[in-house]
């Protein structure tokens, strides 16, 4: 690997690295450590008084039913977003990977919502699912005779959030699964074909196991997506309601930190999310195939 390192200079490599160092240290490392530090304080009066409280904030997090509810919401939300994004993504990829003409166009038309912002998706779904003038309830009324109140029923509100998050994220999974399917060893698939396996058997016994490194990678990426990128959906669609039913960690960090000015609590929740990300990243490096991750 070091065979490329043809140049030698005492100072030039450090000059080249300096901008990266400064930005990463000042805007990633320092705030990360500062978040840990802040999580040990109780901050009041808009930051004017700061009291060291040790692990009190964490104790509050793990005993207060409101916070326990938020953890539960986060897990439920992430679970369903991950399962549905990946299952739908895989199904669509298998379809688009049948040797049909125009698969490139299909792929493009399946993945383009990736370029949309969560805010755009949130605003559009807010209108579509509006109980009075929304198109969704119109269609449900004429077809099934029901007009659910999406934002006041806790389960439906959560379902709506999951739906918009999945719609927005399926394309990402399609990009990767199609790439994965196209890189499968052709001989193995042909051998299964000759053995007379049905398409269903071929998929579950041959294709799916061969895709497992990709599935594992996507599992991690989708979980991180569900933890972080969902903020605009919650902010625009439900504001965490009704009665905290859709309040997930990233939204509550914002709310505690910038609406209620409970900086210490917000920092403690950030630390919990940080630990989750570290755990997921270590899993990825430990069990995932590096080459899927950073390419070959």
């Amino acid at each position: 690997m070091d065979t490329h390192a043809a140049y030698k200079s005492r100072w030039l490599p450090w000059v080249l690295l300096l901008p990266s160092f400064v930005v990463l240290l000042l805007f990633l490392y320092y705030p990360t450590f500062e978040t840990f530090w802040l999580s040990l304080f109780r901050v009041a009066f808009l930051g004017l008084s700061k009291t060291f409280v040790g692990l009190e904030n964490y104790k509050e997090l793990f005993t207060n039913p409101d916070y326990l509810q938020i953890f539960k919401n986060t897990v439920i939300f992430a679970f369903f977003v991950v399962i549905f994004s990946m299952a739908t993504g895989l199904a669509l990829s298998v379809l688009a990977n049948q040797k049909v003409s125009g698969w490139r166009i299909y792929r493009l038309l399946l993945i383009w919502p990736y370029a949309l912002s969560p805010a755009v998706a949130g605003v559009i779904f807010l209108f579509m699912f509006n109980p009075q003038s929304g198109i969704v309830n119109y269609l449900l009324t004429i077809s099934l005779g029901i007009a659910p109140d999406w934002l006041t029923n806790p389960k439906l509100a959560m379902a709506l959030l999951v739906f918009v998050a999945v719609w927005k994220n399926v394309g990402y999974n399609v990009v990767f699964y199609i790439a994965g399917l196209q890189n499968l060893p052709g001989e193995v698939l042909e051998a299964a074909l000759i053995d007379g396996a049905t398409p269903w058997q071929r998929f579950w016994r041959v294709t799916f196991p061969l895709l497992s490194p990709m599935t594992f990678f996507l599992l991690i990426i989708n979980t991180i997506y569900a933890f972080f990128e969902a903020f605009p959906f919650v902010d625009l669609l439900t504001k965490g309601g009704p009665s905290n039913a859709t309040n997930i960690l990233i939204f509550n960090i914002y709310r505690d930190g910038f609406e209620y000015y409970k900086t210490g609590m917000a920092a403690a929740q950030s630390v919990i999310l940080f630990i989750a990300v570290v755990f997921l990243t270590i899993m990825q490096f430990r069990f995932g195939e590096g080459r899927v991750h950073y390419g070959g």
Binding site: A6, Y7, L12, V23, A119, V120, Y138
Partner: protein, 274 residues
């Protein structure tokens, strides 16, 4: 043969249905963005273009200041895309083409930042940026995003695939590292530059949480938060105008994506964007 054809048609039909389901929300948003409130609230709803297209778009652009927010979003997205590409290119150049002590540690230092998404540190970052006196400024939206592990990796991977004979030849010709980087490495890495451009532009264009927190002055706000402001006047929201705003806000990122989607797919196979 007959069966094969039937199968083929089934696949096409399923794909077309999927494509339509994926596109439906945006198509509907576009249709409603052309309608007057009366047309939107008509029952049954109309699925044809309305008569308020120009009016809705111009109100969203002027009265709701989306034009100004778009300009801000353009500034920061372009500044970060260009800055990050240059800074990552420089870091990768040092990591691949130079021999220097502590290289492994430097690499790990950059690698570890993959685990630090901005979202987990917004509280501390807010305090820091406020102390720097950057709140309500472009700097707050640009500088913290200028370096990335992802970009450095992409360029590093690319450089490692370029045969070493090239750098040796350049050295024999008397080319220093910067000349080599400019004349040989950069032209050979344009695919990475394109992948970076589309990933970073879309990422920055779609930023929401951080600008919402750090920018309180309307004249510096970005388009995604501008869209949020359009929905907050709850009483009698004119959905046609809001939908026009959504269509305006999604266009630039979508255009960049469409133009560079091949690089995007390939770039994503190479990296993950946090």
């Amino acid at each position: 043969m007959q069966r094969k054809r039937l199968q083929n048609i089934t696949v096409h039909v399923l794909l077309i249905i999927s494509v339509l389901v994926v596109a439906a929300p945006i198509l509907l948003a576009f249709i409603f963005s052309t309608q007057t409130p009366a047309q939107i609230f008509s029952y049954p709803p109309r699925f044809t273009l309305g008569t308020a297209m120009l009016e809705n778009y111009s109100i969203a652009w002027n009265q709701f200041h989306l034009g100004m927010y778009m300009k801000n979003s353009f500034y920061i997205a372009i500044a970060v895309t260009v800055g990050k590409t240059v800074i990552s290119f420089m870091a990768a150049l040092a990591l691949v083409y130079f021999r220097f002590p502590l290289k492994g540690a430097v690499f790990t230092f950059i690698l570890l930042t993959l685990m630090m998404p901005t979202e987990i540190m917004i509280v501390a970052l807010f305090e820091l940026v406020t102390k720097l006196g950057w709140s309500n400024s472009y700097a707050a939206l640009i500088v913290p995003f200028l370096a990335s592990a992802t970009g450095t990796f992409l360029f590093r991977q690319q450089f490692l695939q370029i045969p070493t004979s090239l750098v040796d030849a350049a050295k024999i010709d008397g080319a220093g590292p910067l000349r080599f980087a400019w004349a040989i490495l950069l032209p050979m890495s344009l695919n990475v530059v394109a992948a970076m451009a589309v990933i970073q532009f879309v990422y920055m264009w779609n930023q929401y949480l951080w600008p919402l927190i750090i920018i309180h002055e309307s004249s510096r706000q970005v388009v995604q938060v501008g869209l949020r402001m359009m929905t907050s006047g709850q009483d009698a929201t004119n959905w046609g105008i809001v939908m026009a705003g959504a269509i305006i806000a999604l266009l630039p990122a979508l255009v960049v994506f469409m133009l560079l989607q091949e690089q995007f797919s390939r770039g994503f196979a190479l990296s993950q964007e946090k």
